[in-house]
Symmetry: C2
Subunit: 391 residues, 2 copies
């Protein structure tokens, strides 16, 4: 196991009606003027936004609002949020929504008290200071409610890039599984896929002797395998939603990924798809992961065999471990199809003729070196091969 630091100081309030505690928690964590940041109309129509405002008003906390966050959140709205926060002397950002809204909130929180361009953080500068952020989560997916990360797409060039820093970990996150019950099945399934991707990206490691984190990641994947089909069959299944929601947080706050190298090649390869086609990140991952894993399998057959046996319940073929390894990837692909995810470029809305462009942006866009590394290292040929497997 590698040396590591781990710090997850987010306060989680989990369960039914917990959104009514927003005011209490903003106060506890020192907020006196709030920006409520959100996406489309669903949080308005469902009455959630009103409940949150009532909760703030009860504590006497003034607020301003900024809606309009899109999936794959854009830098334009971040700049707008930064201007608004400075003008209104906001000292606390409250994200009401999913990963996109939370990531946009984190960017605003860091950018408001930074002298330069906030995009610096998305080009590698570590975030050391930020306004405090709280979240009210409406979809189990990105894990941003417990993470130190944020992903933003820059309109100019459509570069999708990430930033990190303990300063943008939410001070609190309100997790009410009932808020996710109104999600359409496709979005629910895309969220499940994103959570499973966060687990697989950590599972695919070149570190040895990492039994405890292997087992924890397997536990969370087994939970998703059990709960995914239940929630697709019955969107109102609160208990299945609750198990998925906690698994999504635990899967991405990194308590189960410490002390080991991680992969993240599937995320990198997918980011170009959602940047170009504006598809759901989870849907892009559903098409990407089986292709990436099939390519990566030869690098460490035994790791994929372990995943197949421990996660997917495959029988170990001791004479031909690669058969088992492949069966595990196939089981994952079938699972993703069964919950309604796309299986190829066509279903995703991607085009084979774009592959050279995808590879170019992935490897050379925004200052890239021509190679990307994770569980394996990929160059132009191997990236092309992987995208072609998805067709």
């Amino acid at each position: 196991m590698q040396n590591f630091d781990f710090y997850s100081p987010t306060y989680f309030a989990f369960g039914k009606d917990t959104e009514n505690r927003a005011g209490e928690l903003v106060k506890r964590f020192g907020g006196s003027k709030v920006l409520i940041h959100y996406g489309g109309g669903s949080v308005v129509r469902s009455g959630l936004l009103d409940r949150v405002k009532t909760s703030l008003e009860k504590e006497g906390i003034p607020f301003v609002e900024l809606g309009g966050v899109q999936p794959n959140p854009r830098s334009g709205l971040v700049y707008e949020g930064i201007d608004l926060c400075r003008k209104e002397n906001v000292d606390f950002i409250l994200a009401v929504g999913g990963g996109s809204t939370i990531d946009s909130s984190k960017a605003i929180a860091a950018g408001t008290i930074y002298d330069g361009d906030f995009w610096d953080f998305y080009q590698g500068k570590r975030i050391e200071k930020a306004l405090p952020v709280g979240t009210i989560l409406t979809i189990a997916a990105a894990g941003s409610e417990g993470s130190a990360d944020s992903v933003i797409t820059k309109e100019d060039g459509m570069f999708k890039r990430g930033a990190s820093g303990d300063a943008i970990r939410p001070k609190f996150s309100i997790l009410n599984p009932a808020l996710t019950q109104t999600l359409p099945p496709f979005q629910t399934a895309a969220g499940i896929t994103d959570i499973m991707a966060h687990l697989y990206e950590r599972y695919l490691t070149n570190s040895e002797e990492v039994e405890v984190t292997d087992r924890l990641l397997e536990a969370l994947l087994l939970t998703m395998i059990h709960e995914g089909p239940r929630v697709i069959a019955d969107p109102n299944n609160y208990e299945a939603r609750a198990n998925i929601m906690w698994a999504g947080m635990m899967g991405h706050n990194n308590s189960c990924g410490v002390g080991r190298s991680q992969d993240w090649l599937s995320h990198m390869i997918e980011h170009e798809l959602s940047a170009l086609y504006d598809c759901a990140h989870g849907a892009g991952l559903a098409v990407t992961m089986p292709a990436v894993f099939t390519y990566e399998m030869k690098h460490n057959v035994m790791r994929f065999a372990q995943a197949a046996v421990r996660i997917w319940g495959c029988q170990m073929d001791f004479a031909h471990p690669e058969v088992t390894a492949k069966a595990g990837i196939e089981a994952f692909r079938n699972y993703l199809i069964s919950i309604g995810m796309p299986k190829n470029f066509e279903e995703l809305g991607a085009k084979e003729e774009d592959i050279p462009k995808l590879v170019q942006v992935l490897l050379y866009g925004d200052g890239g070196s021509g190679k990307i590394s994770g569980f394996v290292t990929l160059d132009e040929d191997s990236c092309t091969e992987i995208y072609k497997m998805m067709v």
Copy 2:
């Protein structure tokens, strides 16, 4: 799943040589005058205490010392620590040792800034304020390095009782698995048993639909099953020590136990053993758990069958689930014996004739009601039956 709040703001520095970061971390968390609290001579002889002092001196942080913490730490030394902290204007407690030292440090931290008797907290008063505590852990066992709990024994009556509060969660914990390599095998095994008890006490729940926490607890138990024999066979196995150390923290910071009722009857029943005989807590638990589980089995055969299949790899006997349930308990008992733990009263140094006294103190001592509750509710007869099973 039940509603819950979860908050674990401890900063973990994990790995080789991390004790040299003590000064940096005390400074980061605001300490300007430190009490170094420790137990016996081993932290002195090993040179650990000197390394810690050097690290504080490098940061220019003055300190005073208080050694002498015993296993099953006593209230007398807590009072002494409180007096010392007040006299010396200490504003940070640094625990260098195992669970006993950390628990004693937490008690001093809460008591120093409390007007009344610190024992109030161990009779049910919630701890709301305390001096900040940091820890340098020397044994993986109690999980106190990441928990909001402390257990102290009051000399007058030998009552062993617990206190809780987010205020006593350590600000940081330094976890260097190499520091545990010099532990004698018996202490290592007792620590392993304690960790497994924390997992089982959470696993035995009356809550339904708790797949995610079930799976996480199983993952940590599977880790202990894998790593325990390796570290007993080779005490210098750093990697096995590392996996056990992180499992011990994750098993008790409650991230894997949220949203579900828990048991803790084995701990209650064992506490009277270690209070009366001053035996190692883990050794007491090794004798206690198989007896308690055997009694509890009839309350929910399927839960014990699930444990047997998922944790111990037993085959499910679908016609006779109780056979599988029992096989799981037997597998656990055999595991504990295999790592060198005692299997009955005699090996533990306990006496059958003391059973009436044990039951009296357990059920009526320190204001008890005559019943204790967890996974099941126990009275005089059932407690007597359980203690007798241990003979």
